[in-house]
Symmetry: C2
Subunit: 212 residues, 2 copies
DNA sequence: ATAAAGTTTAACCAAACAGTTAAAAACAAA
DNA sequence: TTTGTTTTTAACTGTTTGGTTAAACTTTAT
């Protein structure tokens, strides 16, 4: 039985090696630009074995795409639609989102490109229930209303606020190559430092923006 | 001579038809996903004529890509590095940027994807002189310093401020398909209304964020 | 030892694709 | 009419690509 586990572990190991390679290749090239050969090379196996594990490019891509959406969307939805006080929620959101993106910095550009070239994929992946279930604009609208009537914040259209919150966190990762040029931060570490700095300045920035 | 002009006009007409088609196809599919046949179809000509005007896919793409960069980067650089008072500059930037993006809504996702898959293209397009010439962080750093010492605004790292400014304007266009689902605004007009609303709320949002 | 699953090798197929070619047709200019 | 340019047609080339196949080899489990 321990041996069976090892066998499974071996099999899962190559499967994971393949998925890790596919992730890297799809993330930097997109579906259309990715080559099965490149994925096989990066996983240090051959094309035959690649098709032995995953029947087609489409199937392999779907794994990677679902995974990318899975990393991001549920977290955003849960955090934003939870019943935490608004100010606390903002801080929590910014920190956990920036941390997650630091670990998966290529997800934004990847997802943005794929949902623009094939918006249908998104719709087919998200059962409409999931979205109406956790109604972000609804929850936030109420929180904003309450906080505004208490004089804690200025009123602001919820969808504008949500958009700004996400924009401020995600965009730097999607536009990284551009920002690195315009802001003269070429190195890996310089960008990491920039994101750490952002974690500190963004929360005050947003809270201040909401101040009455 | 009028006839020669007409002939030229004819020639420029098909060239423009081709470029317009190439723009649409490249913008929605990216370089790797675009097909020369699809561009020819969309321009309502045949593939032979396409290669008669533009030798290769690479060449045609470069036109479209340079054009996209040309629409955006110079405007950003000029607006942000100009010597207009900070508050006025913010308003000017948000309005002209959102207006421009409304006319070219597919540029953000297109450019973001291409610079991520081939960062070299950007570097080769921007002679380093152009960037160091109009030193955005430098100019803004001074403006922020002055305004902060006068007590008009809070201090904020210039590169964080620049990033936020751009994020808040560009991201909604790059993430449009996602936002339309999450925020329940499916129609074309609904999104347009959202952007118009954004033009009004974004300036107060940013100015407030900077308030001491 | 034997069977089963995992892995490699190498050749192969069919489709998609960028790009070419040459001849004919359409068109406008002189 | 003649001349030159633009456009079409349609077949074609060469390469890349996703995917397959079959046989051999390796590893692990029983």
């Amino acid at each position: 039985m321990t041996k069976k586990k090892e066998q499974m572990a071996e099999g899962q190991d190559t499967e994971k090696k393949i998925l890790a390679a596919a992730r890297r290749v799809f993330h930097r090239r997109g579906f259309a630009g990715a080559r099965m050969q490149e994925i096989a090379d990066e996983a240090m196996i051959n094309k035959a074995l690649l098709h032995y594990y995953f029947r087609s490019k489409e199937q392999l891509f779907e794994h990677v795409f679902r995974e990318a959406i899975g990393y991001t969307l549920p977290m955003v939805m849960q955090t934003l639609s939870s019943e935490v006080p608004l100010e606390e929620k903002i801080e929590k959101f910014v920190h956990s989102y920036l941390d997650m993106l630091t670990e998966h910095p290529y997800i934004p550009a990847f997802v943005l490109h794929e949902i623009n070239t094939e918006p249908g994929r998104l719709l087919s992946m998200l059962p409409i229930g999931q979205i109406s279930e956790c109604d972000i604009p609804g929850v936030l609208a109420r929180q904003i209303d309450v906080a505004a009537s208490e004089g804690r914040i200025r009123a602001i259209p919820p969808r504008q606020f949500i958009t700004s919150l996400i924009s401020l966190c995600v965009f730097p990762f999607a536009a990284r190559p551009l920002l690195q040029i315009v802001l003269s931060m070429q190195g890996e570490e310089e960008f990491a430092a920039f994101i750490q700095e952002r974690k500190k300045t963004l929360v005050p920035f947003i809270l201040n923006a909401l101040r009455p």
